[in-house]
């Protein structure tokens, strides 16, 4: 009989301060010496993490009501348009929404200003109704003055991501960084063997209700992320070789810190938000121990030409090569650079490890597991208008 542990047994160990917790990098190193059957007996939880720009992020805010009350229809926060179609004083501020008068300042900056304790200008307009007569307001808000502030990110922590390079003769400014002409550089984004969804590629332990580290506090996985795709080709080690699964996450913005949630602006692209996510993976059985043992050289990804709008595939590489500083693309040696912070990801994996060791963070059995056999649809232009 192979050795098994339940979620409750792992939590018992966490509560009694006896849980053995390793980061995913530590367990990958351990796996060079020990087999999965030895690791599952020795280790209880493995912490994974990522800290990268995640555009599909934003926050739900509730401002509280004025007297007389107002049903806000058009809302600006420091000049950044926030969603106005959400009852009277609720809004969703998307990270990539931009101030039309200062395109370098967007929703991500509003979110960071709020968690840094700064005041944010709220300006809103309404048509005025019998029950909500007020038509205009210009005021200052902060995290202290508003009711709820909830980070809710529809698509985060991509399971693997493409490498971006540029074969054209022109410099390209992308969300994967500045790509120099003539394939002079190649940028990659994932934290490799430390990345959450690469350590549980079939999402056996990550599902609806999984408690995670989010932006400096405890958060939750609430749903498969948008563009959740389980149909991407996997390699012999069982991990997809391009961007595949994602998670939707939620957490209390009022408890977050700009150490782990940071606004970004990419030249000629726009605003985004760096999000820090840490996911604990319980060592339930040999299979999970085998999964978290994966090493950078076993995690492959696809190299795409971001110089062309249809991003053709140029080849394949792995994270050991990417992290070495150069890769070989069809015979040409190309310098590599990360665009997500491995230093920050390690910091998060370490913090999560400490919290679990200290009995402050228990693991959760998902209340619902994610779908399988999903793929993503294209959007077709049925009217054939201008591009």
């Amino acid at each position: 009989m192979s050795f098994k542990k339940s979620y409750e047994e792992v939590n018992e160990k966490i509560r009694s301060g006896k849980a053995v917790v390793l980061t995913a990098e530590e367990v990958s190193a351990m796996a060079l010496e020990l087999s999965p059957s030895e690791i599952v007996k020795k280790v209880d939880v493995v912490t994974t993490a990522t800290f990268g720009a995640m555009c599909s992020s934003g926050a739900i805010l509730n401002f509280g009501h004025t007297t007389p009350p107002m049903r806000m229809e058009r809302i600006l926060l420091n000049g950044v348009p926030a969603h106005g179609g959400l009852a009277a004083v609720d809004t969703y501020i998307g990270a990539t929404s931009e101030n039309p008068e200062n395109m370098k300042y967007g929703g991500a900056h509003v979110i960071q200003d709020l968690i840094d304790g700064k005041e944010v200008e709220l300006e809103a307009w309404a048509k005025g109704t019998d029950c909500y007569p007020r038509k205009y307001i210009k005021t200052k808000i902060s995290l202290e003055t508003i009711n709820e502030a909830t980070l809710f990110n529809p698509r985060n922590a991509y399971q693997n991501y493409n490498v971006a390079t540029n074969t054209t003769s022109k410099i390209k400014y992308t969300y994967m960084g500045t790509l120099l002409p003539g394939m002079k550089n190649a940028n990659y984004s994932t934290s490799g063997e430390l990345s959450p969804l690469l350590n549980d590629p079939d999402m056996r332990t990550i599902g609806i209700g999984t408690r995670i580290f989010l932006g400096g506090t405890m958060g939750y996985v609430i749903w498969p992320g948008t563009q959740f795709n389980t149909s991407k080709a996997k390699n012999e080690y069982g991990v997809p070789m391009s961007n595949a699964a994602t998670i939707a996450v939620i957490g209390n913005l009022k408890e977050m810190s700009s150490n782990f949630l940071r606004a970004a602006y990419y030249e000629k692209y726009g605003v985004s938000l760096f999000v820090g996510i840490g996911v604990p993976i319980p060592m339930l059985d040999e299979d999970m121990a085998h999964r978290v043992s994966i090493r950078n050289e076993q995690i492959e990804t696809t190299i795409l030409d971001y110089g062309k709008s249809d991003t053709p595939v140029l080849g394949r590489t792995n994270y050991a090569a990417l992290q070495s500083g150069e890769i070989n693309i069809n015979g040409k040696i190309v310098r590599t650079a990360p665009v997500a912070s491995l230093q920050k990801a390690r910091e998060i994996a370490g913090l999560l490890k400490k919290s679990i060791e200290a009995g402050k963070f228990e693991i959760t059995c998902p209340v619902g597991i994610f779908p399988t056999g999903t793929s993503i649809k294209k959007l077709f232009d049925t009217e054939g208008g201008e591009q």
């Binding site: 960084g177 500045t178 550089n185 940028n187 940071r262 602006y265 030249e267 650079a337 912070s341 230093q343």
Partner: protein, 147 residues
């Protein structure tokens, strides 16, 4: 004494253009130099990024000579502002830096910045998503006074 290499950003006022400044740097102070970047416009202040290689005392004397000739000399490091405290070590800037001034430490994955290796290509200014670099190489546009 050993020769050293130093990089300076120099601003040449229009009236200095008729002097054989570089000739004297070589001839009298035995300074080898390379022009790494130049912006010269007739009748306006020109900016040069020069790499000087010489004995430290000769570099010192050469700089004093240039300054006496109305050339503004500043060590390159002073012309680059980098807000290290706000850096998240994402690595975006290292992708565009070809001189090795910006590199990732592949052990702790923190950013290494060596301003002395910079050639003021300024690609990092746009590449940094945190907007942490500012390079002051260009001539400040003169204030026009309308009366």
């Amino acid at each position: 004494m050993k020769e050293v290499t130093r990089r300076y950003v120099m601003k040449f006022p229009p009236q200095s253009a008729d002097k054989a400044l570089t000739y004297r740097l070589i001839k009298e102070y035995d300074i080898k130099f390379s022009i790494l970047k130049a912006e010269v416009r007739p009748g306006r202040t020109g900016s040069l990024l020069l790499e000087l290689e010489a004995l430290p005392e000769n570099i010192q004397k050469g700089i004093e000579y240039l300054e006496a000739s109305s050339v503004i000399c500043e060590p390159l490091g002073k012309k680059i502002r980098f807000e290290a405290g706000r850096c998240i070590n994402c690595g975006n800037c290292t992708g565009v830096c070809f001189t090795g001034a910006l590199t990732m430490d592949r052990q702790n994955w923190e950013l290494n910045f060596e301003p002395e290796l910079c050639v003021v290509c300024e690609l990092c200014v746009a590449a940094c998503p945190m907007n942490l670099f500012e390079i002051n190489f260009h001539e400040e546009e003169p204030q026009t006074v309308d009366n």
